[in-house]
């Protein structure tokens, strides 16, 4: 049996990688992917606590399913934004998108 802490460490590692990716990626798609990582880290945590709780009623797993659905939707919206930004400025590098910069 794999102990609870291993799942939580995996979740934390995944979250940290995601956050690092969000802060460091210059490619908008990379940032979106990193956000997906963060969401998945949250999902792992939700499922872990659902599995290892004193009264496992499966609510955490249902919530994870909701998160996956919403993540898919938000990925669609994010990709749409990226496409329209690309159409306007011929780039998806966020440091080049400086239209609103002072």
């Amino acid at each position: 049996m794999i102990p609870e802490s291993h799942f939580l460490i995996l979740g934390a590692a995944l979250f940290s990688i995601g956050v690092f990716g969000v802060f460091t990626r210059r490619n908008a798609i990379g940032i979106l992917m990193s956000i997906e990582l963060i969401l998945n880290a949250a999902n792992i945590n939700l499922i872990t606590f659902s599995k290892f709780s004193a009264s496992p009623d499966g609510l955490g797993q249902i919530f994870a399913l909701f998160v996956i659905a919403i993540a898919a939707a938000s990925a669609v919206v994010g990709l749409c934004l990226v496409i329209s930004i690309y159409r306007n400025s011929k780039t998806i590098l966020v440091n080049k998108i400086n239209l609103m910069k002072w």
Binding site: F23, I31, K101
Partner: protein, 636 residues
């Protein structure tokens, strides 16, 4: 019969407007505009005369003003005096304007000259038609203005500009008197109408009013002591002199006295003043004319002298005599001036010492000149004889022996100086390089017409025509009029004597005797030659103190008033400099400092606004981390 008299001045005024506004366009036709206006006025004047003879009188046009209990109508007076003057003024004015075509030919301001001439005519005609003092005063000033404009017509010459100013200011002194006189009549008698002058009653106030009105006449008609402007007025073009001397300007003064004759005759003191001022002027101007050497100035002094005669005639009570002389004088004096103008136009000098022998080359001008001189000297049957003789007999009849002596001596002098002029200008040998030639027809024809008038116009007042003129002008005076053969004989004799002496001195002796006479009467000659130093006395008594006062006022203005103004200005500058310093360093400093502090902060803070979404995210993230840590440490 339609009332058309009020239209008489309208046409010259219209001509003035046309010429002054469109002078550049109409150019030479401006003469035609003016002359046709004058001719129309002449026709209307004759029509008015005919209307009057058929029994038409004064009429008023419309109500103009109501003030102080006086209702002022714009009205027209139609009586013998006005009718006579209208006809005379329009005839002479028209002839002078025709003559001016030749005289002013080629002048740069040709149409302006005719504009002024028309304005002059219009003002004079308006003055003659006015039935109240207010209208009379308006036109009176109009005449004064025109005389100023025309005397200084050649204003490029400083002397002409000065002469215009002198005429204007000198007559203004008299006009002030007239204005005060009118005010007295308005305030004490509540009337401005000539028709009501007869029933004013007596009293020293009205005597004063009469004397003040006479002041106006003294100024306009150049009587002593306000005569000084008239000789200087000779600076104007000669047709102007003719118009001023014959028809318009100076006649206005005599006309005024004649118009207010009822008022004067009700106040003996005023009347006798008129007579003596006239007498003194007549004699005194004649003496100056004897020694003067400028052809136009001699004529100017003779005008002053003749105006003195008219005043004397009116002053002794000889109303018709004075008016008669005004009329005859208008013709022969216009003629004299136009002849003089013709001579000047031809030879280009006014100094009679340089002339001589002009008659051989200028027959028409010369002949007209001789006729006019005979007329003014009082040789029968020329015009001046009848009128002057009538004045003399009036003086004698009304018992003024001193004035009679003065008048007879003056007529002797008149004949003398006129023929001195005739002999020096027309006959003998020329005394310098002059080349006289006859003037063009447009100038000689008016001379001829006026010469005919100068010969025959006197006959209308002679016993040969039953004193028709006197009966017309003043019906109840002529009944008692009988020809005074003794006076006639005396005046003719004196005139002959004057001419004879002139012939003796200036024709036979070739200038020798006058030289000796000059030496013999040295101081007296100098006194008269310098016009009794009246100009100098005025200069000393009035002009220089006035100038000094003006300079003082100027200095006061410069020092005190300008000083105050400048001081205030300087104070303001200093105050504003202080205010500017405060503004710059304190107000602006505070504002700038605020801005600078904001700037410094923003320099630091703007570094946070990188524009990279990730930076913001990072900050937000670490902020969150810090908050969590703080929460953990504090809250536990």
């Amino acid at each position: 019969m339609v009332n058309l008299a009020h239209l008489i001045p309208v046409f010259p005024f219209a001509a003035f407007v046309v010429n002054i506004l469109f002078g550049r366009k109409v150019k030479k036709f401006s003469a035609i505009v003016s002359i046709s206006a004058s001719v129309i006025s002449f026709c209307l004047s004759v029509y008015t005369l005919v209307c009057f003879l058929k029994g038409q009188g004064a009429y008023s046009l419309f109500n103009w003003l109501i003030f102080g209990g006086i209702s002022l109508n714009i009205g027209v007076i139609v009586d013998p005096l006005t009718c006579m003057m209208l006809v005379v003024v329009t005839i002479i004015g028209t002839l002078i304007q025709i003559y001016s075509i030749g005289y002013m030919k080629g002048d740069a301001r040709f149409s302006r000259f005719f504009a002024y001439m028309s304005l002059f005519m219009g003002s004079m005609l308006g003055l003659l038609l006015a039935d109240n003092f207010v209208m009379l005063y308006i036109f009176w000033e109009g005449v004064g203005l025109c005389s100023y404009l025309l005397i200084s017509f050649w204003f490029e010459k400083p002397s002409a500009a000065k002469a215009g100013m002198k005429a204007f200011i000198t007559t203004r002194i008299g006009d002030t008197g007239l204005l005060i006189g009118i005010f007295i009549l308005i305030f004490s008698a509540h009337t401005v109408y000539f028709s009501e002058l007869g029933n004013l009653g007596t009293g020293p106030l009205f005597t004063a009013a009469a004397l003040l009105i006479f002041c106006g006449a003294v100024g306009k008609s150049a009587q002593f002591p306000l005569h000084v402007w008239l000789p200087d007025a000779m600076e104007g073009p000669t047709p102007v002199s003719a118009l001023i001397h014959a028809a318009t300007m100076v006649a206005a003064g005599v006309y005024l006295v004649a118009r207010c004759f009822v008022l004067f005759s009700a106040h003996g003191a005023a009347l006798i003043t008129v007579a003596y001022v006239g007498g003194i002027t007549a004699f005194f101007a004649a003496t100056i004319a004897v020694v003067n050497n400028d052809i136009k100035r001699i004529l100017a002094y003779s005008t002053i002298s003749q105006l003195g005669f008219m005043m004397m005639g009116l002053g002794v009570g000889g109303y018709s005599a004075g008016v008669f002389h005004l009329m005859t004088h208008a013709f022969f004096k216009a003629l004299l001036f136009l002849c003089a103008g013709s001579v000047i136009h031809s030879i280009g000098t006014q100094d009679i010492q340089k002339m001589g022998g002009v008659f051989r080359k200028m027959k028409i001008t010369g002949l007209s000149f001789v006729i006019a001189s005979l007329a003014i000297s009082g040789i029968p049957p020329f015009a001046g004889f009848w009128s002057k003789d009538e004045i003399l007999s009036e003086i004698l009849k009304n018992g003024h022996p001193f004035l009679f002596v003065l008048a007879t001596v003056t007529s002797l002098l008149t004949a003398f100086y006129m023929f001195r002029l005739v002999f020096l200008v027309l006959f003998g040998k020329s005394r310098s390089e002059i080349h006289p030639h006859e003037s063009p027809n447009v100038m000689t024809i008016p001379l001829g017409i006026l010469a005919v008038f100068a010969i025959f116009i006197g006959l209308v007042g002679s016993p040969f025509m039953n004193n028709a003129f006197q009966n017309f002008i003043y019906p109840h005076e002529a009944e008692i009029m009988k020809p005074d053969y003794a006076v006639m004989g005396l005046s003719t004799l004196l005139a002959m004597l004057g001419i004879a002496v002139a012939y003796l001195l200036y024709m036979l002796n070739k200038n020798l005797l006058p030289q000796r006479v000059r030496q013999y009467f040295g101081p007296l000659y100098n006194l008269v030659y310098n016009k009794y130093y009246i100009d100098e006395i005025y200069d000393f008594l009035f002009i220089r103190p006035t100038m000094r006062l003006a300079k003082l006022a100027f200095k006061f203005d410069l020092g005190v008033i300008d000083g105050t103004v400048n001081g205030v200005a300087r104070l303001t500058v200093i105050l504003s400099k202080i205010a500017a310093w405060i503004d710059r360093y304190i107000v602006d400093g505070a504002v700038n400092m605020t801005a600078k502090i904001v700037g410094i902060f923003s320099l630091v803070l703007r570094r946070m606004q990188t524009g990279y979404i990730q930076t913001y995210l990072l900050i937000a993230f670490f902020g969150l981390v810090i908050i969590i840590f703080v929460k953990l440490i504090i809250g536990g």
